[in-house]
């Protein structure tokens, strides 16, 4: 057996550290264990140092990053757990299997904390579906995978965000996030704290699927990707549902001492992590593992990523109630070992020790400080003629895949199971869920790779700002965030520079707004090794917000004819990374800047408008700009509006800035009492203007430099929004 045949992902430098620290040459099983845990996907070796910039504390934070899920206090003894995962590499090769097992993975993390999963959110990126049949195939099958899995386990998918860009053609991004709810005293950690406790492996059998999946996720995709299909795990949502029901019932007994889900790296990472975080050791006998194939080697059993498996730490005596619940649901389980006090991960096969490593050493991959270099940006200013036909450009934007209605997607997701969905996909700016204590939880995930590639600092901070605006728009206070940072190869200094800038941008914004980051994920190597094409930097922000009661829930659409429409916030000349520039194939320009100091006053002011009943329609401005926001409010409400946008506040210069700029910090609201609305905004010193009123069968806009109003008929708006995705996808 040569080291080459193991195809490890470890670098020579890392292998030297291993030999030096252990003082010997590890055997094959030990190399595989270390390889799984030291993969980028499992260890965060390229990102840990920078991730320390995130603010992680807050009065509602029960557990921050470093656990299977972040935990946030939502009052009355209840907590909400949140976690985000990606399955980018598997989905690029097998979109159905990759996406469904992505859902399976994120559900397991929430379940392993002892909380019940109550909602899923999907954030997806694909290539250009207008031009690429391959991207359409990936899109159709990722959605089907998420639908089949989520629907079967009975957890509603309530929100999402989808972006199409050519840079994702060979490297699609499939991010899935999950929210859970439970009682604070019922929380269970992934720690083996008590020597003598037994280790029980529960759920699906262990097979050869997904072997070294964590290593696969930590390399660039190659042209031979088709042959890597065996690295993709096989989904089994029925087994997951049995695990969910049985483990939630078992957790209620209070007998589970620790619970850890088996994800990337399989048994290797789960065992070493529970021992290390518990300050203990573990001793396991692999012959007790329920294997699917009879001739699996110890290394294969340790690194298999077969799905639907959970590791439980149970007291050595008195676990019968747990085993009875598992038997009732016919969930296979086996006692595979015990917790020790020696600090070692000891692995046996037929009694004989086949691997023995210090647990704390296995989980501490040496950090890598990659060099970073700011890319040279072209200084050329874009020259785009001002839109002669604003109405045509606006309809074209509404019909563009990034902005068009995604009903084709979420119509395939059961978004109502669970009796908690107050605002469902497409209904408003974010989802809204009812919690057991009667409060409501808003959730939304956002990203913007076009802006991030030009200006990673503002682009990434902007994703957080956009997600915050989305939860504020339904009346919720942002209380926590998880992030997902997706980039190309970290050994490329320009990629690493944009990674660092993105973190700085998000961290600065969260610190200023006092939004703790309670968890997150990093996914590198989203790059095609043949063409060397990396994805555009794709940080994602998933924000949750809290509403105390259901008294004032605004709608997205305009409702009452005659109601005044108010534009809140400044519109500036910030077309960089905009959908407008994408449509006219222009690069460059100024990317919208976040203004945390303004937002600190803006969000409470908008919440005050909503909670005092002064406004009944609220929408934030983001992709496509003010024009798109107004059109969406007309379409959703089934009624037109007549506005004079020349009154909109800000230092915008011409009609393109005004209508299409994606400046942050803006909302459009409508409500009966102009005076009341204006008073609240003036007192908070928020720029605003009454621009017109709801009514008519068209969106009619007075614009600068145009004698006559630009008019879009309501049915033209709806056709543009609703036609694109069904037409492309069938």
């Amino acid at each position: 057996m040569s080291l080459e045949s193991l195809r490890l992902g470890l670098t020579p430098g890392e292998m030297a550290v291993v030999r030096r620290t252990l003082g010997r040459e590890p055997n094959e099983v030990e190399w595989c264990i270390i390889d799984a845990e030291w993969s980028e996907h499992s260890s965060y070796k390229s990102s840990k140092a920078l991730l320390k910039l995130f603010p992680t504390k807050g009065k509602r934070v029960v557990l921050g990053p470093g656990y299977d899920a972040g935990v946030v206090d939502v009052g009355d003894g209840y907590v909400v757990t949140l976690h985000i995962e990606s399955h980018n590499h598997p989905s690029a090769v097998d979109p159905y299997g990759g996406a469904s097992t992505g859902i399976g993975g994120v559900l397991r993390d929430i379940l392993s904390m002892g909380t019940r999963p109550i909602a899923l959110i999907d954030v997806l990126r694909f290539g250009d579906i207008e031009r690429s049949p391959h991207s359409r195939w990936l899109f159709a099958n990722v959605v089907r995978g998420i639908a089949d899995y989520g629907n079967c386990v009975g957890v509603p998918t309530v929100a999402g965000d989808i972006e199409f860009d050519d840079s994702f053609e060979r490297n699609c991004l499939v991010d899935v996030a999950c929210l859970g709810v439970g009682r604070k005293e019922g929380l269970i950690l992934g720690e083996a704290k008590n020597p003598g406790d037994i280790l029980v492996l529960v759920g699906g059998s262990t097979g050869r699927d997904g072997i070294r999946g964590a290593t696969f996720a930590s390399k660039n995709l190659s042209e031979t990707a088709e042959t890597e299909r065996s690295s993709v795990q096989v989904p089994d949502p029925f087994t997951k549902k049995l695990l969910l029901d049985s483990l939630l019932e078992a957790a209620a007994t209070g007998l589970i001492r620790g619970m850890k889900d088996l994800g990337g790296g399989g048994l290797s990472t789960a065992l070493s992590e529970v021992a290390s975080s518990g300050g203990t050791g573990v001793d396991v006998e692999l012959e007790r593992v329920n294997v699917r194939e009879s001739d699996m080697s110890p290394a294969e059993v340790m690194t298999s990523e077969s799905q639907e498996r959970m590791l439980l730490m149970l007291p050595p005596k008195g676990s019968e109630p747990i085993l009875r619940v598992l038997a009732k649901y016919e969930v296979p389980c086996s006692v595979i070992g015990k917790v020790t006090d020696d600090g070692y991960l000891t692995v046996r096969m037929g009694g004989r020790v086949v691997a023995r490593l210090p647990a704390a050493f296995v989980v501490k991959a040496p950090l890598i400080a990659w060099p970073s270099r700011r890319p040279r940006v072209s200084a050329a200013k874009p020259t785009v003629a001002a839109s002669a036909r604003t109405d045509r450009m606006l309809l074209s934007l509404l019909a563009s895949p990034n902005i068009a209605s995604k009903a084709w997607v979420y119509g395939q997701y059961d978004h109502e199971v669970g009796l908690r969905t107050v605002l469902r996909p497409g209904q408003a700016d974010s989802a809204l869920l009812r919690l057991p204590n009667g409060r409501l939880l808003a959730v939304k995930g956002d990203g913007n790779s076009a802006q991030c590639s030009q200006d990673p600092y503002n682009g990434a901070a902007g994703c957080v700002a956009e997600a915050c605006r989305n939860v504020v728009a339904v009346g919720a206070d942002p209380i926590a965030m998880v992030d997902h940072l997706q980039f190309g190869d970290p050994s490329d200094p320009e990629v690493y520079w944009s990674f660092g800038e993105s973190i700085r941008g998000m961290a600065d914004y969260c610190s200023a707004l006092h939004i703790p980051v309670v968890g997150g994920k990093v996914s590198f190597y989203n790059e095609d090794s043949t063409s060397k094409r990396a994805i555009k930097p794709s940080p994602i922000a998933l924000v949750v917000g809290l509403v105390d009661d259901a008294k004032h829930i605004p709608s997205l659409g305009f409702g009452v004819k005659g109601e005044p429409i108010v534009v809140i916030g400044n519109t500036s000349a910030e077309l960089g990374g905009s959908e407008f520039y994408r449509r006219v194939h222009t690069e460059g320009g100024v990317v919208p800047k976040v203004e945390p100091e303004t937002d600190k006053a803006l969000y409470p002011a908008v919440l005050r408008l909503i909670r005092s009943g002064l406004v009944d329609a609220v929408h934030d401005c983001s992709q496509g700009g003010l024009g798109v926001a107004l059109a969406e409010m007309c379409s959703s409400g089934g009624v037109g509006a007549k506005v004079d946008l020349r009154r909109a506040p800000g230092d915008w210069r011409g009609v393109d800035d005004l209508v299409f700029s994606e400046s942050h910090g803006r909302f459009v609201v409508a409500g009966a009492e102009t005076e009341g609305i204006v008073d609240v905004l003036a007192a908070a010193k928020i720029p605003h203007a009454v621009v017109g009123a709801v009514g008519g069968g068209a969106l009619s806009m007075r614009l600068p430099g145009h004698d006559r109003a630009s008019t879009l008929a309501l049915d033209a708006i709806q056709r543009s929004l609703e036609g694109t995705i069904p037409r492309l996808m069938g």
């Binding site: 639908a147 089949d148 629907n151 079967c152 386990v153 009975g154 949502p237 029925f238 549902k241 049995l242 029901d245 009732k328 649901y329 016919e330 979420y410 119509g411 395939q412 997701y413 059961d414 978004h415 109502e416 199971v417 669970g418 009796l419 908690r420 969905t421 107050v422 469902r424 209904q427 009812r434 259901a550």
Partner: protein, 235 residues
């Protein structure tokens, strides 16, 4: 009126049904989750088979649950006139068990559909539609991939003749049009009953239409389906 909601391995709308009935809060009606192997099932006054993916929908939706010991108990209870309601997967189970005729096939669009629909009450004499009137339109959501009700010609004739069609998809005014049929069901059928009139299966989810807060149309029409169990004249 003690209502049993049966949980099979893979049921996922069982807790919803229990909770919806509890929240309706009608005096004299309680709901309880009952495991499919439990002997207690026969002690209840009404049975609900909830939605979900019992046994993973392996072989065919509802086919394995139809072999559960619960079903032989339910068959006997149905013979005695106990009201039985099959919602979504529950409807599929009743069809697979032969308690209701026909078949539930893949939606005509070949995709899962989650949407709010209107259904017209065709028969206001069942234990689940007693307080409605014929022609009344109820707004409830569907969420399924295999809900295209199919009955061969002869069976459809029998269903019509014996007034065993309980709900048909319709528009908001109660007209059963092609556009209002979301999945291509035979004759727009959304729900049917057995010969005895006490076993009803439907694809829409009444338990999801009991709280206006959870409906984009503020509908609570689903309450009617459960409250009918306590009887009373048509409204």
């Amino acid at each position: 009126m003690k209502v049993a909601v049966v949980r099979f391995p893979g049921s996922n709308c069982d807790l919803d049904a229990v909770e919806a009935i509890r929240r309706i809060g009608v005096a004299g009606m309680t709901s309880q989750l009952v495991w499919h192997e439990s002997e207690e099932l026969t002690k209840f006054d009404a049975v609900v088979l909830p939605g979900g993916f019992s046994f993973g929908d392996y072989l065919r939706a509802g086919s394995i649950a139809a072999r559960s010991p619960a079903i032989s108990k339910i068959r006997r209870m149905a013979d005695e006139g106990i009201p039985v309601l099959g919602i979504c997967n529950g409807f599929q189970i009743l069809v697979e068990a032969g308690l209701l005729p026909g078949a539930l096939l893949r939606n005509s669009g070949l995709r899962f559909v989650c949407a709010w629909t209107d259904v017209r009450v065709e028969n206001a004499d069942t234990p689940f539609t007693r307080i409605a009137h014929e022609g009344q339109v109820l707004r409830m959501p569907i969420a399924h991939g295999e809900g295209r009700y199919y009955a061969p010609e002869e069976e459809l004739r029998r269903l019509k003749r014996d007034h065993r069609i309980v709900f048909r998809y319709s528009d908001a005014e109660g007209r059963a049009t092609d556009e209002s049929n979301p999945t291509g069901t035979t004759y727009g059928i959304a729900g049917i009953s057995n010969e005895g009139g006490n076993v009803v299966g439907l694809m829409p989810h009444p338990e999801r239409a009991c709280d206006p807060l959870l409906s984009p149309y503020s509908s609570d029409d689903g309450r009617l389906v459960f409250r009918s169990l306590l009887g009373g004249a048509g409204g």
